[in-house]
Amino acid sequence: MFDRRFVKYFDWGFLGLTFLIGLIGLVTLYSAVASATPTPQKTLYFKQIIWYCIGMTGMVLSFLINYKSLYRWSPAIYAVCIVLLISVLMMGKYVGGARRWLILGPFSIQPSELVKIAVIISLARYYSKFSDTRGFSLRELFTPLILTAIPFILIVKQPDLGTAMVVVLIAGFMTVFVKIERRSLLYIITACAITGPLVWFLLKDYQKKRILTFINPDRDPLGAGYHIIQSKIAIGSGMIFGKGFLKGTQNALSFLPEQHTDFIFSVLAEEWGFVGSVVILFLFLMFIIWGLNIAYRCRDPFGTILAVGITAMMFWQVFINVGMAMGLMPIVGVTLPFISYGGSSIVSIMICVGLLMSISMRRFLIE
């Protein structure tokens, strides 16, 4: 049963990289919660460590499973996740006007985090089955569209615009990777160009206002606009070498909203400066390239597309979260992988790491 190649091909480097980023995440989170006023939220820090342990179990499990069996199981996984999403809408916990959490005994989970994985697996199955060099035509893209649209709508309803957008972006990334037929691509672009303005005219004034504020936070100087300014000040004030661990002032005084989730990059950049920020961005880039390299070396289309999807998720979350904190992007609630506080986010990322390692290790196993 036990194959010695398991040890030989085990991706130690990738595991080490994961632990390194995770460690930086814990240190940053400590700073974000320890000095928060008026009440330091150290319990969050310990909770995060527990989540990491749970995540590690998830990672080991998903690593042990032969990823190829996911091909068969993907409809079931997808169905379970959709059921979870529907139950969130029906009996989820209200926090700040949104229903995103399901209470399961002592845990509260955010099914939208798990849905991302389910969508990736389902799309990988579909694309690996029908992929050819010509690319996908409009008609062939109908199934992926439905597979993405269902969770998208359910997540928008919660509402959790950030996660919903990430789902679409991941699906888009994967679709572009397997190639869209040139003519179909033209159709899609023209259709968007025509319907976009049309939809705009159909929107009500308050909806337009919300979208404009979303694109340009400066329109809301007391809310999003203020957060962006504070975040930019925090990042910029780190200068080259940073203010030092636990020395961030913007963070300590609750000027940053969601400093332990969405704006945690600002905490890191303020305390560790340009040098520290470059290091963490470089580690993220390495992680993504490593993931793409796993896809590159995998000789099975399903494994390749699966690895690309998982890497796409990492890429988008890092890009959107960091871009948002620096004022490059609209403000949406997207977590920074490994670093932001959040149990479901950590667990789903660790599962993804396990999957990537599973693909990496089994690259020589041809059935």
Binding site: D132, R134, P221, I240, L253, L292
Partner: protein
């Protein structure tokens, strides 16, 4: 698929993956460039801004909507007030600053320190309120020494001002600080601790119109916490103005007439349901709630036996007494138990079973028909009508006339009153209905309870020919520019269970109450205006225990409650009034004159217009 197409193979994927890696690298290059720009190029400037947390938000409160009466007389507005706060981080050194400040505004340092002490745990960039409403002298003193007082912030805040002190206080209500339960309830999403919200009356019910929307400024401050630059401003949206149906001239009159007594006066336009008067006595000072009341003041308000905090017009439940005879008369006529020709002999008492039920007039009324029975309020006549109807038919009519359930006026805590029936008693006490109890109910005693507002709505319906209108307090809501947001319309909520003929008979009876030589409310007669009405004298429970006391020696709290309901003119009525005076003893002497004066004030147009002009010119 055509032959020329290859299935995607590993090489093809590898080729595409290379492109993906390039794209990812490009994206990270963008992130790094931005990072470089913020931390290296802009770093110095952003570090400076971070040093003192220079960019701050200051909120500006919206000015709350004003409240007017139906003629545009301003009842409630806002005046500017100056609040003094401190930002601990800017006020270095704190002790020294506080000492200086204490001297300037004549407040003991210990008191100011106490305010800070409570808030030590809060984020030190959050302003802590030191003293509200410091007044003009304090303002001038602080403004002049501004640069000597780091971290001290002066905020202009619109402050609620109830212009007509104590007038319509129960209807208008008051503002008070939001409590933690209300904050948690989610009903006030835009409020934060320390905000004032409507807690009672119109201020509470129409909170959403009055409130407006908070604005704010993004400012840059210097090391002392003083604003050096306003970066961005979002204007506060003022609340919408409310026009009540109340007629302040009448309201004022009613309150003057109730002075010294406990009771309620309500009046409405019988054709629309507009409430013209809602007075409850004794009243309270709403400004005291805004200024912050001492514990002692609050204690004395709620322990006052005359219950000043209760809106007696809608919360006070009393036996309707003889005013209920309107219902008994309608029921008797409609059910054919009596007609306009039925006469009954009243010897001053009525024997039922082995008990004697007395008429209020010991000598009796002699031969009585329905008109005389209403005019002279003969109990014996209505005992017999009630007995023939039975309690359940009586209860049916009472309910159909709107008694026993809230009228639905747009105010909180309206009482429903009680219309007793056999089933109701069984449910409530477990004891079966006794025939004699029906007799008490027929003259409005026994378990019967009504509010003044219910009796007013009933009287109005009788006056206008049978239509029951919902009592309205809101005439319109307007924006600050005068655009109408909401305009109230009259709402029919029911019809009296009576034919035209029945109504005509009862109306004639009520006309005789005021206008026949022996009517119980002759005192309400005025020259030139036909008034119709009905008196009532509600026995107070406990009085029978002391049968030997004469009326004069009776302690006040055993004296009967005085009722009078009326409308005028008798044909094409313009106003209906209900008056209740607690322990006023006789409806005829204590309540009827009040109703008469209100009707006189409203219908003598020359005098009314003069008063209105005088009132408007004061503004």
């Amino acid at each position: 698929m055509g032959k020329y197409l290859k299935t995607a193979d590993t090489d093809w994927y590898k080729q595409r993956l290379t492109r993906v890696m390039l794209c990812v690298a490009g994206a990270f290059f963008i992130l790094l460039s931005r990072l470089f720009y913020l931390q290296v190029i802009e770093g110095q400037e952003l570090r400076r801004l971070s040093e003192n947390n220079c960019i701050r938000l200051q909120s500006t409160d919206a000015s709350r909507g004003m409240i007017f009466d139906r003629n545009g007389i301003l009842l409630v507005d806002n005046r500017p007030a100056f609040d003094l706060s401190i930002i601990l981080k800017d006020a270095k050194p704190v002790d020294c600053t506080i000492e200086k400040l204490g001297k300037l505004i004549n407040v003991p340092v210990s008191e100011l320190m106490k305010k800070i002490g409570h808030n030590k745990g809060l984020s030190s960039y959050k302003p802590i309120l030191l003293k509200q409403d410091i007044g003009r002298d304090g303002l001038a003193a602080v403004e002049v020494r501004k640069f000597d007082l780091p971290g001290i912030v002066l905020n202009i805040k619109p402050r609620r001002h109830y212009i007509k002190t104590q007038s319509a206080a129960h209807l208008i209500g008051y503002l008070s600080e939001i409590n933690s339960d209300e904050l948690k309830s989610g009903k006030y999403p835009e409020c934060k601790g320390g905000d004032l919200i409507g807690k009672f009356g119109v201020e509470k019910v129409f909170e959403r119109f009055l409130k407006g929307k908070r604005g704010g400024r993004q400012v840059e401050v210097n090391v002392m916490g003083q604003v050096v630059k306003v970066l961005k401003t979002v204007d506060a949206l003022p609340g919408q103005n409310i026009y009540l149906t109340i007629d302040y001239i009448l309201q004022k009159k009613a309150e003057a007439l109730l002075e010294g007594a406990a009771g309620a006066v309500v009046a409405m336009d019988p054709e629309t349901g507009d409430i013209l008067v809602m007075a409850s006595s004794p009243s309270f000072d709403q400004n005291a709630f805004v200024d912050g009341m001492s514990h002692k003041q609050w204690e004395s308000l709620i322990s006052n036996p005359l219950r000043p905090m209760e809106n007696k017009a809608i919360q006070g439940e009393y036996p309707p007494a003889s005013t209920f005879k309107i219902v008994t008369a309608i029921a008797g006529l409609e059910e054919g138990v009596i007609d306009e020709n039925t006469t009954i002999n009243c010897p001053g008492y009525y024997k039922y079973g082995n008990r004697i039920y007395r008429c209020w007039r010991h000598g009796g009324h002699g031969s009585v028909n329905i008109f005389k029975a209403l005019a002279e309020s003969c109990d014996v006549f209505f005992y017999q009508v009630g007995q023939k109807l039975g309690i359940d038919r009586l209860a049916f009519y009472a309910k159909a006339c709107g008694l026993g359930s809230a009228t639905g006026i747009n105010l909180n805590d309206e009482a429903a009153g009680i219309v007793p029936s056999a089933a109701w008693k069984k449910r409530r006490t477990g004891i079966a209905w006794q025939g004699g109890e029906t007799l008490s109910v027929a003259i409005g005693q026994g378990y019967n309870l009504s509010t003044s507002l219910q009796m007013l709505v009933l009287t109005s319906a009788l006056a206008n020919g049978g239509t029951i209108y919902k009592p309205l307090i809101l005439e319109s809501v307007k924006t600050v520019n005068g655009d109408i947001v909401i305009q109230s319309k009259r709402q029919v909520i029911g019809r009296l269970p009576a034919s035209k003929k029945t109504l005509a008979i009862v109306q004639k009876g009520l006309w005789e109450v005021v206008n026949s030589p022996k009517g119980t409310a002759r005192i309400a007669h005025i020259k030139g205006v036909d008034i119709s009405g009905k008196t009532g004298t509600a026995q107070v429970v406990g009085r029978h225990n002391e049968p030997n006391l004469s009326e004069k020696d009776m302690p006040d709290h055993f004296k009967a409650h005085a009722w009078f309901v009326a409308y005028a003119p008798s044909v094409n009525p313009q106003i209906a009034v209900a008056v209740l005076v607690e322990h006023g003893e006789h409806g005829s002497s204590a309540a009827a004159p009040i109703a008469r004066e209100i009707i006189r004030t409203y219908l003598e147009k020359d005098e009314y217009v003069r008063q209105l002009k005088a009132e408007i010119s004061k503004q």
